[in-house]
């Protein structure tokens, strides 16, 4: 056996290579820390920087909101403690933030409306619930009528009429959102179908409306609904001051909804339309039974994010003098008898948590639905 030698080079090695060191840990908490927090010098610096930031912000926020907060007492107790939130203030103003100036002895009507609405929404959104189509019918048709009768009042059945100028707080915010949701979805579907229609005039009308509304700020739509709607209609039709922003809100979100629905319609394979047409069913049954159920489920995330946008946009109705939740927080915050440096942060913290819980809940629901549907679509 001789070495495989060419010239002076040896191509066959005689000795074993020295053993490599064992591989670094790839599992366990220590390896995780090394990979995810200290993978390089830059990464380590960032880790320390953000850790310091988190250790500064989170404890001071918890301190402010809970540990050092004033839970009960009056304005003087709050003024004496500048390090913590003044929850006593929220407690004092809670009913005002809930109902606005709705008469105290009639507030049960608001509670009933809200509870019925919550039950219907839960029924509608809960997957395994029986007869969800009944829930849809109740929510989209019966509930608005019931809510109108209960909130506004009907002297016929012994409920005194409450003027809408007394409504306020969370009631207005929820009402605006629900009205917007109930009307914007069907309107948006109609506009989207119109935009994809073969009929040139229908298409032009829908495109004009959608592009016009999407091109202007919501505030100008509200201004228009508030100042110009009464000019447009005959005197006997002049809408109520609360109805005007509602119309504006519904039309505004309908235009955005239309674009979301259109995306769903465009994503449908042509075969679905052709299959339905081959079966000889008409336009509306085809849309109702074949196209829309599929198109709408594919765009559930878009629909929900339009709802979230609508919910956040209800804060703008304050510009036309409607006392929505944020507006009541502003009014309460400026109450001179509670004046103090911690009042504004407390009010904003409370309002932010309220909006955040609703919006985050909605976005989580849409993510879950999306995941469930995508699981169903996989083969």
């Amino acid at each position: 056996m001789s070495d495989l030698t060419i010239g002076s080079r040896t191509y066959l090695q005689r000795e074993k290579n020295p053993a490599l060191p064992p591989p670094r840990l790839t599992s366990g908490p220590l390896a995780w820390v090394r990979q995810n927090l200290f993978s390089s010098i830059g990464s380590s610096v960032l880790t320390f920087l953000f850790l310091a930031l988190a250790l500064w912000i989170i404890p001071s926020l918890i301190d402010f909101a809970f540990v050092k907060a004033v839970w009960s007492g009056d304005a003087a107790t709050c003024r004496a403690n500048l390090d913590g939130a003044c929850w006593a203030f929220i407690r004092d103003k809670f009913d005002y933030l809930r109902y606005g100036s709705y008469p105290i002895d009639q507030r049960w009507r608001v509670d009933v409306t809200e509870v019925v609405g919550a039950v219907l929404i839960f029924w509608l959104l809960w997957n395994g619930a029986p007869r969800r189509n009944v829930a849809a019918l109740l929510f989209f048709i019966v509930y608005p009528i019931l809510a109108f009768v209960l909130l506004r009042g009907a002297p016929l059945i012994g409920l005194p009429v409450i003027d809408t100028s007394l409504w306020g707080g969370v009631l207005i915010t929820l009402l605006m959102s629900v009205i917007g949701i109930v009307f914007s979805l069907p309107l948006g579907v109609l506009l989207a179908l119109g935009r994809r229609s073969q009929m040139p005039i229908v298409k032009a009308a829908c495109v004009t409306f959608i592009e016009f509304v999407r091109g202007v700020p919501f505030i100008t739509v509200l201004f228009m609904a508030n100042f110009m709607l009464p000019l447009f209609v005959p005197d006997y039709l002049t809408p109520d001051r609360l109805l005007r922003p509602m119309i504006g809100t519904a039309l505004f979100s309908a235009a955005y909804m239309a674009e979301v629905v259109r995306a769903g319609l465009q994503a449908m394979p042509k075969g679905q339309y052709e299959g339905a047409m081959a079966l000889g069913i008409g336009y509306w049954p085809m849309m109702r039974l074949v196209v829309l159920p599929q198109a709408l489920t594919t765009v559930i995330p878009g629909i929900v994010s339009t709802f979230i946008g609508l919910f956040k946009d209800t804060t703008l109705v304050a510009i036309v003098g409607i006392a929505d939740f944020l507006r009541t927080v502003e009014t309460a915050r400026l109450d001179p008898s509670w004046a103090g440096p911690t009042i504004s942060p407390t009010g904003y913290l409370f309002a932010a948590s309220f909006y955040w819980v609703f919006c985050f809940g909605m976005s989580r629901y849409s993510q879950r639905t999306e995941r469930r549907l995508s699981k169903g679509r996989k083969h």
Partner: protein, 395 residues
């Protein structure tokens, strides 16, 4: 041909079932309804306006406004016309939109990239930012910045001083005021030339790359042209631009440039809020580029930076830019929330004060909406052109 004439025309059935007739009928009905609604609105409006003595023309445009605006970028006094007030408002809107777009792009891209960081804590902090900010109404954030952060700042005498001659107090942010001496025009000219020359160089470099495959150091040359050249001219001419530092005199500051708290709050609120959406767009865009793309680039021998710059980013941008533009438009439209904190933008000045003083609701609202519509339509038109040029051509 002769045979066909003898054929009996097939029975099409009732005209009610003819799709063409139906479609024509529906459209005529729709057109009639639309015209009736518009005519009704028009006649009602003109009657209402006559009854209430609301001006119907645009003669108010040249009347004296008689109110003050605290921030004006173009000359304006109480004696200026309503038309002038309109331009002041429009310029203020555009100012906040442009500054906001720059700021939100920086924050948004940083947070979006941070969400994809391999560093766990960086990714989590970015996620918390996005989830918290985008689920809270913009108006609430604006009010928070204005009423809870900027307004409680100390009075001018106890200003918070930031290195660099910047002062923070309840009247705003006071920064050194640049003074343009003789010769500063040349510096501006050099800057302009640098920008134009950089574009030219970029064009030349991409043509050369397509032809020969050789790359030119575009970024380096552009930096030299845009930053280096004006700096060189600046020092050659003996520093014609100086900064006048603000000085506390009595109860207020002399000199320096004051950024009003309204503008600062609006800018902060708008860019922080919009950035949370842009971050998600950026993340989705980067994730949309398939793994195979970067693996193929590595296999070709490109290093990590080249892969990112030449393969991933160009493809991600194609996905990012259309929704990014609509976020820019959203920011511009949302700048109308200025009216809630008293920043004199188009809506606050024109659709607010001017409308209330003149009562010309229809004309004022029409003009205001037309301005936003023009901005939106021009942007989406440009966007469509861009999309056509950059759309992915398959096969």
């Amino acid at each position: 041909m002769a045979n066909t004439s003898t054929l009996v025309k097939p029975d099409r059935g009732s005209i009610l079932n003819d799709p063409k007739a139906r479609s024509l009928f529906y459209q005529v009905v729709l057109a009639a309804v639309v015209i009736a609604v518009f005519y009704g609105a028009y006649s009602n409006t003109s009657r209402h306006m006559a009854d209430a003595h609301i001006p119907t023309g645009f003669s108010f445009w040249n009347a004296v406004a008689g109110f003050d605006i605290n921030q004006t970028l173009i000359p304006y006094t109480q004696l200026s016309t309503y038309g002038r007030a309109f331009w002041v408002g429009l310029v203020n809107t555009l100012l906040v939109a442009v500054l906001g777009i720059v700021l939100t792009t920086i924050i948004g891209f940083t947070v979006g990239v941070a969400r994809l960081s391999p560093n766990w804590i960086v990714a989590k902090v970015a996620m918390v930012y996005v989830e918290v900010i985008r689920n809270i109404p913009l108006l609430l954030q604006l009010l928070f910045w204005y009423n809870a952060v900027l307004k409680p700042l100390p009075a001018p005498k106890q200003s918070i001083q930031i290195p660099g001659g910047i002062f923070l107090n309840n009247r705003g942010i006071i920064v050194p005021d640049p003074q343009f001496g003789a010769g500063s025009g040349w510096v501006g000219l050099a800057l302009l030339f640098g920008i134009v020359a950089s574009f030219g160089f970029y064009g030349w470099a991409s043509v050369r790359q397509k032809k020969t495959g050789q790359q030119a150091p575009v970024l380096l040359v552009a930096a030299a042209l845009i930053i280096g050249l004006p700096l060189l001219v600046f020092f050659l001419l003996g520093s014609p631009i100086t900064f006048e530092a603000p000085v506390l005199k009595g109860f207020n500051f002399r000199g320096g440039r004051q950024i009003f708290p309204e503008l600062a709050a609006l800018l902060l609120g708008l860019s922080v809020y919009t950035a949370s959406f842009i971050a998600e767009i950026v993340r989705a865009g980067i994730q949309s580029v398939g793994r195979g793309q970067s693996e193929a680039a590595h296999a070709l021998g490109l290093n990590a930076r080249q892969t990112l710059r030449l393969v991933v980013i160009p493809q991600a941008m194609r996905v990012i830019i259309p929704p990014l533009t609509s976020q820019y438009l959203n920011l511009t439209k949302n700048s109308s929330l200025a009216v809630f904190i008293g920043y004199p933008d188009l809506v606050a000045v024109f659709a607010g004060t001017v409308l209330n003083q003149t009562g010309a609701a229809v004309q004022v609202m029409a003009i205001t909406m037309a301005v936003y519509l023009v901005i939106s339509l021009v942007t989406s038109f440009a966007m469509n052109l861009f999309n056509k040029r950059n759309a992915l051509v398959e096969r």
